[in-house]
């Protein structure tokens, strides 16, 4: 019902943008999550020289203007970038002007948020439980997967939600890194940006904004449901 109305309310290009945004948000979250968990674990549990620097590096995409982040991505991962050229030459991966590139931009920008949330959750895990698991014969890795990870699930979920939300809203890095290519990189924020730069674009901007909000609320609702389930499962109610 609502769908029908929405169908009518958006133009095909707008639908493309919505679809693209969801795709980018999903894959960005999907790919960055494991790395975020790993990074959070390293930052919270391992001591090594230069850790402060790594810590800073993780926060970098947050602290820099997103346009700068996009520019840095261009410099490194562009077709001529010092990593990008090998990606293309060796694996045939092209990021610039593609949905894959938009996904990378979204993932990079949301990474600090995800890591932060997961790290907070990780630090709240009672290390006594991890010790107990080890006395029961579980190796460090085993402990991580059987005890630590389940107990930090609420944090991971929260991190994922932040990732999805910020991916849905990501604009600066995306437009700078992969530009605005319809059907490839033109996500909702890019579409909204375009709309706000057209003297008669207010209606379109408003429609897409509403769609953004609905998507965010949907993600949140889903996250809350999952969260409640997780908390019941891990006994933190």
């Amino acid at each position: 019902m609502l769908d029908f109305k929405a169908m009518d309310m958006l133009t095909p290009e707008e639908w493309t943008a919505v679809y693209l945004s969801l795709k980018v948000a999903f894959w960005a979250t999907f790919w960055s999550l494991p790395f975020a968990v790993l990074m959070a674990w390293v930052l919270a549990r391992v001591r090594f020289p230069g850790k402060g620097l790594l810590d800073g590096l993780v926060y970098l995409p947050l602290v820099l203007p997103k346009v700068v982040v996009g520019y840095l991505l261009l410099l490194t991962l562009g077709a001529r970038g010092f990593i990008g050229q090998y990606l293309d030459a060796w694996f045939g991966i092209k990021l610039i002007f593609t949905t894959a590139g938009a996904t990378v931009a979204a993932a990079v920008v949301s990474f600090p948020l995800t890591v932060n949330a997961i790290r907070l959750a990780l630090e709240a895990v009672d290390r006594g439980l991890e010790t107990a698991a080890r006395t029961l014969g579980a190796s460090r890795l085993d402990v991580f997967f059987s005890v630590t990870l389940p107990l930090m699930l609420p944090g991971i979920l929260s991190g994922a939600l932040l990732a999805i939300a910020s991916a849905l809203g990501e604009f600066g890095a995306t437009i700078t890194f992969v530009s605005n290519v319809e059907g490839q990189t033109r996500t909702i924020p890019l579409a909204i940006y375009s709309a706000t730069h057209m003297p008669d674009g207010d209606a379109m901007a408003l429609r897409l904004t509403v769609v953004s909000i609905l998507l965010a609320l949907g993600a949140l609702l889903l996250a809350n449901l999952v969260d409640r389930r997780i908390r019941t499962l891990i006994g933190r109610v």
């Binding site: 346009v67 520019y71 261009l74 410099l75 562009g78 077709a79 001529r80 610039i96 002007f97 600066g172 437009i175 700078t176 530009s179 605005n180 290519v181 890019l190 940006y193 375009s194 709309a195 706000t196 730069h197 057209m198 003297p199 674009g201």
Partner: protein, 235 residues
């Protein structure tokens, strides 16, 4: 009170250099300050609409100035268009080959298998809109449409060409003039697009002597010398 405050000038981001130089010169000559805010013309127009107490609006295209006029935000009577620009095709310096743009120019052959043209977003960023109009008028839009990548500003489009990420770019001549590592390979025929113009107007309710003084300075000979220096077409 309004007389004593320094006027705030809303200027399109592409005017950043020129206006800053003009501001310094003005200060040297009159010992009076002006404040600038450089952003996209659209953002500035919206801010005016929301009641921003700017004194002068210098737009990068006629559309947003018309928008401001329609909303009765600026003084129509004060409109001047002292400078303009032209549209050029650029390529990375090391791959540049001069071409001529006309209706028979084969864009796809020029671009190669998956070559891209960088310009502004074609439905919102002014350079993109001009580019789209020009290509449409040349009867090429449908062929190249998929090859166009829309950047958030001329500068961003320029960067894509400078870095060789895009095969070519459509930018203003002023930008091309100052860019490194790119070469202008063609200029778009003047009749393929509406003239690129920078209209200035005084904001409604701000036509006090301080504002007027600087507005006049903006279109005066000192300013025109500076515009020329940055490659604008001075009218």
């Amino acid at each position: 009170r309004a007389q004593e405050t320094t006027p705030t000038v809303f200027a399109a981001a592409s005017l950043t250099n020129a206006f800053q130089d003009i501001g310094k010169l003005y200060k040297e000559k009159t010992a009076k300050d002006v404040t600038f805010s450089f952003a996209a013309s659209s953002a500035l127009a919206k801010q005016l609409e929301a009641g921003a107490p700017a004194a002068i609006f210098a737009s990068a295209d006629n559309k947003w100035m018309d928008y401001a006029e329609d909303k009765d935000l600026t003084l129509k009577a004060t409109r001047v268009t002292p400078i303009g620009n032209s549209l050029v095709l650029i390529m990375p310096a090391d791959k540049a080959k001069d071409v001529t743009i006309d209706k028979s120019f084969d864009w796809l052959a020029f671009l190669g298998a998956d070559g891209k043209i960088a310009t502004g977003i074609t439905d919102s960023v002014p350079i993109g809109i001009y580019a789209k109009t020009a290509l449409t008028n040349l009867g090429q839009w449908d062929k190249v449409r998929e090859r166009i990548v829309g950047a958030e500003s001329v500068r961003a489009a320029l960067a894509l060409v400078e870095r060789g990420e895009a095969t070519a770019g459509i930018v203003y001549s002023t930008d091309a003039a100052v860019a490194k590592n790119v070469k202008v390979v063609a200029t778009f025929p003047a009749d393929s697009h509406p003239p690129v113009e920078y209209p200035f107007e005084i904001v409604k309710g701000q036509d006090n002597p301080a504002t007027k003084a600087f507005f006049d300075f903006l279109v005066g000979p000192d300013a025109k010398a500076i515009y020329a220096k940055y490659g604008f077409v001075v009218k």
